[in-house]
């Protein structure tokens, strides 16, 4: 069979690897998945170094070169997570933004115990982070350029897992991760009173959400495009749903 190369978003790899493996077993075409991050995925699609690029956020027209196609294969919520022992159950989007801007620094300010807040963010070009910043308007303009407004004092973790480990270990921590990766080691907060559930992402009531996008370039061969078609097929979208994400169709 052929080898299809896919690279990009770290959040998408756990889903993509399952899709890939199922597809490989089915067709004999091997799918190779690398998950360094969304920006790398966009670059890979632009430069044609991989057949398929992945980004866990909306990709703007200005970011892609002519001939690069963007296809949404799933939608995903971004869960705001804290230590399971944290008494706080709900935060508003403003409160979350305040915490990440370092305007709110103590849990007592948002109804919790009197303890400092340890905010954990993702690395600066993660798709999850970009989606999170978009939804919460965590952007500022410096020297005419739009950059992140997340406080530089927030800790930086290099993957969903690392955010989870930190929030699961430290009772004072708060972080955000792909909804599909939440489990009992952390507690996902309600946002604006809406439960962090796939159903609520699907019906649009859960506010912190983004799309999983794949990109193909002019050099992408047909057998790679076939893989994307298969993802969008019923069989593919079933897997998406089973893994805890929102199907694109």
């Amino acid at each position: 069979g052929e080898t299809i190369t896919v690279s990009g978003s770290n959040s998408m790899t756990s889903l993509m690897e399952v899709l890939a493996e199922t597809y490989t077993n089915k067709t004999g075409n091997f799918v190779e998945v690398q998950g360094p991050g969304s920006s790398a995925g966009i670059r890979a699609a632009n430069q044609g170094t991989s057949h398929i690029g992945m980004a866990s956020r909306t990709v703007a027209d200005s970011e892609v070169e002519a001939g690069v196609e963007r296809i949404v294969i799933a939608n995903d919520g971004i869960a705001i997570v804290v230590h399971p022992s944290n008494k706080v159950e709900n935060l508003t989007t403003e409160q979350v933004a305040g915490i990440y801007r370092a305007e709110i620094t103590n849990w007592s300010e948002v109804g919790g115990e009197n303890a400092p807040i340890v905010a954990v963010t993702r690395d600066s070009a993660s798709g999850t982070r970009a989606g999170f910043e978009d939804v919460l308007s965590l952007k500022q303009t410096i020297n005419g350029m739009k950059v992140s407004a997340i406080s530089p004092r927030a800790q930086v973790a290099n993957g969903n897992g690392m955010v989870k480990t930190t929030s699961g270990q430290n009772p004072r921590a708060i972080g955000y991760i792909s909804l599909g990766t939440v489990d009992s080691s952390v507690k996902a907060l309600d946002v604006n009173g809406v439960d962090a559930l796939v159903a609520n992402v699907q019906n649009g009531s859960y506010p912190v959400a983004r799309s999983f996008v794949v990109m193909t370039g002019p050099k992408t061969p047909q057998y790679a495009k076939d893989f994307i078609d298969w993802i969008l097929s019923e069989e593919g979208q079933d897997i998406v749903a089973k893994k805890g994400y929102v199907p694109a169709k």
């Binding site: 756990s14 690897e17 190779e32 170094t49 993957g159």
Partner: protein, 281 residues
Amino acid sequence: MLTNDNKDKLLTGVIWSAAVLTMGFLVWILFYIVSNGLAFVDWSFITDNYTRTGDEEGIWPMIVATVYIVLLSIAIAAPIGIMTAIYLTEYAKPGSKLVKLIRFCTEALAGIPSIVYGLFGMTFFVVALGLGFSVLSGGLTLAILILPVIIRTTEEAIIAVPLSYREASFGLGASRLYTIWRVILPAAMPGIVTSLILSIGRIVGESAPVFLTAGMVARIPESVFDSGRTLTVHLYMLTTELYTQHDWDMAFATATVLVLVVLGINLLTKLISKKFSKATY
């Protein structure tokens, strides 16, 4: 005021505590890793494939990829490193500008942080030469990374060959090449083998320069142009995705295997240099 004897006792105590601290830390780390991981290391863990659908969670592909990358980088670096060491010790005029340049560059290579190798390998081998994320890119990058280790250790081994052997050989009218081949290299062999095993250890232990060049695809590479994930990279991937208790167990198990591999490599070094030194002396 301390008397001399008491001062001696105090300092002896301090020295002992430092040694205990060093050993304590080692034992602590080893015990923590192995006690949490050993229970999950079994034959199928070692020989199974690794799939994301969850059917199999073995580390066989990582073991194979590690072996490939080790073999490739050693195959590239060993001849170059050994020949460089021969040049520096047997041919070059000591203290000449050329030797200084070569030595400076070797030192510089040894000093470059491995993340910079990763950076370089990704720009040069992966992108500029178009080799992609592949065992080949990884092997080439790591070959440069271990080159100084091989050069230095081999040099030391060659220098340690008694001058009297060289004198005797030259005194019998043997040529330089013949002397190197028949006398110097055999006598330096334990040192050379040691340097190779040290390099293996180094390769096994690296992570950043490996995944930036060889990628992290968890399957058995079919050719040197395929991507591969080494054991250490695998452990790194696992630690960034610790979701369930089961994930933790797998991470500990992988760490245990790594520690055992390193232990095995160290024992092998000892064994080989002992065996060689018995054979030649």
